[in-house]
Amino acid sequence: MTTSPLLDASGVAKNYGAVAALRNASLSVLPGEVHALMGANGAGKSTLVKILTGAITANAGRILIRGEARDIRSPAAARRAGLLPVYQEPSLIPDLDILSNLRLTGTPVEPFRAWVRELGIPDLDIRDTARDIPLAVLRVLDLARALAVEPDVLLLDEMTAALPANLAEKVLEVVRRQGDAGRAVIFISHRFVEIAALCDRATVLRDGETVGVVDIVPGVEEKIVELMLGTRIVKTHVAARSAAEKTAPAPARPRIAVRNLRVGTKLSDVSFDLADGEVAGVVALEGQGQDELFAALAGSIKPSGGTIEVDGQPVKFSHPIDAIRAGIAYVPGDRSEALAMQRSVRENIALPFSAALRNWGPIPMRRERATVLSAIARLQIDTRAQGEVQRLSGGNQQKVTIARWIAADARTILCFDPTRGIDVGTKQEIYKLLRELAGHGKSVLFYTSELEEVQRVCDRVIVIFGGRLVDIFPVEEADEPALMRAAYGLPRGAKADIGILADPTANASDAPGATP
C-alpha cells in the first residue's frame, strides 16, 4: 500500500447557507482498488460524490488526481480528469436510440458492445430506443458506457440496486476485474454482502466528516457500524412515558393487516400488523422500498400483489380518498407535497373537509373555524403569519400537515419522516403528539431517518432492507446500534458475522437478517 493514490481528496467542505453538508471529508483511492464509501443517511455521501464528479463545487478542500491538483468544476472536467460516475438514475436520453446516445457522449461503440456482452446481455440491438429498454438493462448499459471509455476512477452509486441477481453477479464480477486491471472503483452501497465480496477498503463518513478508513476483513461490519454511529453508540433507554402517552390496551384484531405486499420491483413480500393505540416505527436506509410501502397504504399507488386489510376487511385503494374514507391519512415527508403554499393555515387544515363532492356547497364557517382552531391549539401552531402557509417556519408548516388530520380525526396516521429539517423544540412536540394519539387509541406508522427517534416514539420497529421486511422487534431492543445493524440488513443478536462475509456469492436480498 505504498503506491501513490489515484484519487486523493482531503479537507473537502460544502455549506448550504448555514447548514454544513460536508465539514472535513477525505477520500483516498489507490490504483487497483475497489473502495467502498459508506455512511448513514445524511452523512454527506452524495454531497462528496457530487463534488468529485463536478456536479457541485466545494467551498474548501483539495482534490489530487494522480498526484496533480485538479479543479473539477463541471462533469465534463471530471470526465477529462478520468473520473466517471454511474448514478442510480439511468442517464441515457429516453427518446434516442442507444447508438445516438453513445455518439452524444463520444463513447466508442465496439468497446461498449464488448462490455455489454461481458455484463451478461448478449443480444442487445443498439438501434433500440432507450425508452423501450427495461430499467435493469439500462443501468447495465450505463455501466458499459462508462467502462468503454476506460476511466481511471469509476464511481458507482448503488449499482446493484434494482438489478436481478444474475445481472448483479456479472456486474460485481466486472467491477472486481476493474480493480485487478490497475484502475480504481469507488463503490457506494448499503449492502455489506457486496462490499465484503468486492471491496478492499472502506471510507466511512459521519456528519460530513471522514471518521475512518478500514480494511475489509471478516467481522469489519461491526467496526463500520460503530464508526457510522460514532459517540451515539451509548445505549439509550426507552423514555419514561406519562399516563396520557401510554399505549392503550391491545385490541383483539389489528387495525391494519398487511400481507405479502408487493409494489413493482421496489417492495416485495411485506407482512405486518398495525394495532390501534400503537406507534409502529419503520426503519430503513434511503430507497429501500419504504416510500412505496407508505404510498400503497395511502392509496397513492396500487400494489402489484398482496393484500391490505383494514379492521379485518380487505381493501383496494385506487385513490387517496379511499384510504381517507377508511380512516388512513398520509403525511408526506416533503411538506411541499402536502401544502397549498399560497393559501392560509385555515384553508390548508380544512382542505380534506371539502374533498368529497357532497361537501362542495357553502362551508359552515363557524364550525370549521372551531375545528381548525382546536387543531391549531392542539399542535401549538404559531399562526402569526397565517395568511399564507409559505410564510410559516418549516416546523410550523409540518405541524399544519399533521393538524389537518387531527382536525379530520383520522384513525390511522402514516407519518413519513415528519421531523426532517425542523427545529428541536418542534421535534419534541411532534414526538409527544404521536404518543398522545396512540394513547387515544389511534394508530401511527412512523418512518424516520433519525434512528434516535425510534425509542422516543415507537412501540415496535419494522425494518425494511432491499424491499423486504427483514425484522420486527420491540422498542426495548431498538437502541441505535441494533437499528443501524438491522437497517444494513445485518442479523440481530449475533456479533460474529463471519458467515456472511465468508460467503461472497450470497444474494443480498435473501441472506442478511431474514431469520431474526
Binding site: 385513490h319 387517496p320 374514507r325 407535497e337 382542505l351 362542495w360
Partner: protein, 339 residues
C-alpha cells in the same frame, strides 16, 4: 405607474394614524397587498378622468350606462377565465360557446317556444364544457389545447348548423333585447342578471367547498390529491360551469349586439383573459379573485372607448391597447406582491 404613485398615496392618509417608522413606500405596498383592488379602482378612475379631460362632458349617465352594458358580457367571460385560471387552466372555448348559444337562440326562437329555444341554446354549452372537463381532468390534455380544439369543433358545427336554418332567418327575442340594451331608471337591465351572478361567483370562490378546491388544486394538485380530492371531478364541474356561464353571456350579448353572426363573441375571448390577468388572477393558478376581474373588465372597456375617441388608426390603437395591458399587468404585480 408614474402617474399612479401620488394618487396611490392618497388612501394612506386614512390608515396612517399612528406614526410608524416604516417608510411610506413600504406602507403603501403593504396597504395595496392587503387590498389588491384598490390600485385597480384608482387606475379606473384615472382613465375616466383622462377621458373627461380629452372630451369634456363625455362622462355622463348615458356613457356610464353604455360602458357597464358593454363591460358586463366581458366581465362574465372573464369570470370563466378567472375560475379556470385559478386551477392553472384557461378556457378559450368561451367565445365559441357564447356565439353558439346566441346563434341557436336567435334562429330557433323563430319557430320554437322561447323556453325550448333556450334549452336548445344551452345544450352545446353544457356539452362543450363536459368534453373540456373530461379532456383536461381525466385525459390531462393541456387546457389551452383542449379548449382551443373544442372551440374549433364548435365553430365548425355552427357553420353546418347555419346552412340548415338559412331559410328560416333569425330574430332577437324581445326579452333578450330588453335585458341587453334596456335601461330602467338609469340602471342597465343587464345588472339584474349580472349582480346576482357576480355575487354567486364571489361567494362560490370564497365560501364554498368547490371554491376552496379551485384555489387549492391550482396551488398544489398533489396536496389536494393526498387530501382526498378527485381532480377530475373538480375540473369537470369547473369547465361545465365555465361553459354554462359563457352560454348565458352569449344570450345577453346577442340582446346587446342584435346581429347574430358566426363570430359574434369571438373578439371577447382574449380581452376576457386580459381582464382576469389585469384583475390580479395568476395564470399559474392558486391566486386571484373575481372582484379584481370585474374591475379589470371595466378598465378594458373604458380603455377601448378612450382609444376610440383618440381617433387613431386601427393599427396604432391595437398596439397601444396591447402595450397598456402589458404595462398595467406588470406594474400591478409589482405593487401587489410583497416579495
Amino acid at each position: 405607474m408614474r402617474r399612479a404613485n401620488p394618487i396611490a398615496s392618497h388612501p394612506m392618509s386614512t390608515t396612517a394614524i399612528t406614526p410608524a417608522p416604516i417608510p411610506l413606500g413600504r406602507r403603501v405596498k403593504r396597504f395595496m397587498a392587503d387590498r389588491p383592488s384598490v390600485p385597480l379602482i384608482i387606475l379606473l378612475i384615472i382613465l375616466v378622468v383622462i377621458l373627461q379631460i380629452l372630451r369634456p362632458g363625455i362622462v355622463n349617465e348615458r356613457w356610464i350606462g353604455n360602458t357597464i352594458k358593454f363591460a358586463i358580457p366581458l366581465a362574465i367571460l372573464a369570470g370563466c377565465q378567472t375560475m379556470t385560471m385559478l386551477t392553472g387552466g384557461i378556457d378559450l372555448s368561451v367565445g365559441t360557446v357564447a356565439t353558439m348559444s346566441a346563434f341557436i337562440m336567435a334562429t330557433q326562437v323563430v319557430n320554437q317556444d322561447p323556453a325550448v329555444a333556450f334549452l336548445l341554446a344551452m345544450m352545446p354549452a353544457v356539452l362543450i364544457g363536459l368534453v373540456n372537463g373530461i379532456g383536461v381532468g381525466v385525459f390531462r390534455v393541456h387546457p389551452l389545447i383542449m379548449t382551443l380544439g373544442t372551440s374549433l369543433i364548435g365553430t365548425g358545427c355552427l357553420q353546418v348548423y347555419q346552412r340548415t336554418v338559412i331559410a328560416s332567418g333569425a330574430k332577437i327575442p324581445d326579452f333578450l333585447a330588453w335585458l341587453g340594451t334596456g335601461v330602467t331608471s338609469g340602471f342597465p337591465n343587464a345588472l339584474l342578471l349580472f349582480v346576482p351572478l357576480a355575487a354567486l361567483i364571489v361567494f362560490t370562490l370564497a365560501r364554498t367547498g368547490f371554491g376552496r378546491l379551485l384555489y387549492a388544486v391550482g396551488d398544489n394538485e398533489r396536496a389536494t390529491r393526498l387530501s382526498g380530492v378527485q381532480y377530475w371531478q373538480v375540473i369537470t364541474a369547473l369547465y361545465i360551469t365555465s361553459s354554462v356561464l359563457a352560454g348565458i353571456t352569449g344570450l345577453l350579448y346577442i340582446g346587446l349586439i342584435k346581429a347574430p353572426s358566426l363570430s359574434l363573441a369571438e373578439p371577447l375571448v382574449l380581452p376576457s383573459v386580459a381582464a382576469a390577468v389585469i384583475g390580479g388572477t395568476s395564470i399559474f393558478g392558486g391566486r386571484g379573485g373575481y372582484t379584481g376581474t370585474i374591475i379589470g373588465a371595466l378598465i378594458l372597456t373604458v380603455l377601448t372607448t378612450l382609444l376610440t375617441i383618440l381617433q387613431m388608426p386601427e393599427g396604432a390603437r391595437r398596439i397601444l391597447f396591447g402595450l397598456i395591458v402589458l404595462f398595467v399587468t406588470a406594474a400591478y404585480l409589482r405593487i401587489v406582491e410583497e416579495r
